[in-house]
Amino acid sequence: MQEQYLPSASNFDPDTLGHFGIFGGRYVPETLMPALLDLEKEYEKIRFDKDFWDEVHYYLKDYVGRPSPLYFAKNISDELGAKIYLKREDLNHTGAHKVNNVIAQGLMAKRLGMKKVIAETGAGQHGVATATICALLDLECEIFMGAKDVARQELNVFRMKLLGAKVNAVESGSRTLKDAMNDAIRHWVTNARDTFYIIGTVAGPHPYPMMVRDFQAIIGYEARAQILEKENRLPDHVIACIGGGSNAIGMFQHFIEDKEVECIGIEAGGHGIETDKHGCSLEKGRPGVLHGQMSYLLQDEDGQILEAHSISAGLDYPGIGPEHAFHKDNGTISYDHVTDDEAMDAFVWLSQKEGIIPAFESAHAIAHLKKMPNIKNKLVIVNVSGRGDKDMIQAQDILKDKFL
């Protein structure tokens, strides 16, 4: 049995004001600053605190079902002539990696004496995870979700309501994750004194990017021990999809300092990066400020935020966590993209080859395997960040001609 996970100080921790190089920071209205400073103080207290982590672990083990397996995907390995392992975050309770972070933040809300919790959600996975933990910990829960996402993720909306959460469909702007986050911030500014904002990814103002990374780094912590046990060596590549970037940074955290391991983050290529319909903030954006942080953003020449596009609601966001922006400039992580079509092919491929239906988001990471020119004989870990159940209605519509 592996020793219980505890975050460790990293070479890539931000400075005291939350900066990863020029990125990160806290770009929020003054009204929120006291709440963020309190949160930072509280986080410093619990970051390495064994009692807090004992409680987190109790839930991660018996409620979520951790550790998640590292599965040797023999069939796709044979096809590619490589050794592919899948980190099965899709097997977590609620169906994705999101729950790792939410449990820890929910327990922090309790410690701070907050009874009300809010969260933004894109695909609905973070909303479902938050609603779940609020039910478990007896917290009042309000979810902000873009109206467009409410329509395409109907099942998740019902799940949240069933779990006792109030779901607000946000009608402004592009009516997706970006706008859900705007309204969550507005609600938070108004209720800063008694409301805990559970941010779902490694984005937002300090300390969220660092805190959420620490909460998700259990993925990489487990995967590293699992691969060493099974293969007795580190992988050549570790691949994860990136929207805000929490499953990726959580996976990469325990490989990033190993020179022999290449960490690869996959952005949503949408209709292709030569079009204006994609979610490639790193590849096609430039540094700017949105939602409390400096990071790469899709924006016009005046800094107006552009709409992102992805077939997967979870990657449909014009920004990215600031630590990823830093790693891009620093060269510590490689970034690439996969289009909607490539992701859909991989969605079918993994389903039919391995009997594992991945979330559309995770299908982007899977799809990259087929695009790697020198994959032969390589040892690769792919993070299957979530399961495809939530995408069934959309998949049925897109693939209806394929499976008559």
Partner: protein, 246 residues
């Protein structure tokens, strides 16, 4: 005399209107004009100002329009720019602040640039004699107030309640005003939720008010002609100016 600062969304409904409106307000009791820079994601603003922002963007607002309006207005009425940090950051502050100064713009109001993130720009602002307006929020402790207003110039923007612009909320600010006075002589103006009804109450023990949504409410009325909009905004200014000085 207590001061009145008026926020208008630049180029809504069009550029020449913004110039006419700003100049008219300057002649009708407004001491300073806040030229709002329309932004796609104005998270400190309520639905009224957000709508004006989006309409201005839909009809093609560009940052250069702000410069044009400023050029026509700033030498005649005291003018500040109000916008989200990204709008200014993308212009390169090293170039923008001297430009603001040359146009006669006296300050910038950036609601998402708190004290912690302003340090690296303070020299740039002060050497160009452009104020970077400090915010104080009702959630701030006495200790934090001391910290955030140390280098305040021109005026302090006291946010009237925890929330977004134009909502009907109200909080007792007297303690926080006492705290501010303890550390600075910089004038303090209250903004958020100030209109003809609330102005007299909100200005209690401070030096001025900032009014935004109340003007934009008038600008958003489709039934009014441009002339009527300017007349109503001017009348509102005179009314508020007289109420805060009763």
């Amino acid at each position: 005399m207590k001061k009145l600062v008026a926020y208008i969304t630049s180029t809504y409904p069009e550029k020449s209107f913004s110039i006419d409106l700003a100049l008219a307000l300057g002649e009708n009791g407004v001491d300073s004009i806040e030229l709002g820079v329309p932004f796609s994601d104005p998270v400190a603003d309520g639905p009224v100002i957000e709508k004006a922002n989006h309409l201005a963007l839909d009809s093609g607002f560009k940052f250069t329009d702000l410069l044009d309006i400023s050029e026509a207005v700033a030498k005649k009425v005291d003018t500040l720019w109000m916008g989200y940090f990204n709008s200014f950051y993308q212009q390169n502050l090293d170039l923008l602040i001297p430009k603001a100064s040359a146009l006669g713009v006296s300050g910038l109001i950036i609601p998402d640039l708190p004290h912690e993130e302003t340090h690296k720009y303070s020299e740039l602002f002060s050497s160009n004699n452009v104020a970077n307006i400090s915010f104080v929020a009702p959630t701030d402790s006495n200790k934090r107030i001391k910290e955030v207003i140390t280098d305040s110039t021109k005026f302090i923007y006291l946010v009237a309640y925890a929330g977004i612009t134009g909502s009907g909320q109200s909080e007792d600010l007297q303690k926080i005003i006492t705290d501010i006075r303890e550390y600075t002589t910089t004038p303090t103006y209250v903004g958020f939720g100030v209109n003809a009804k609330t102005a007299k109450d909100k200005v209690k023990n401070v030096d001025g008010v900032i009014v935004g949504s109340a003007y934009i409410d008038i600008l958003l009325k489709d039934s009014l002609s441009y002339t009527q909009k300017i007349e109503q905004c001017s009348a509102l200014s005179l009314e508020i100016k007289s109420k805060i000085n009763e």
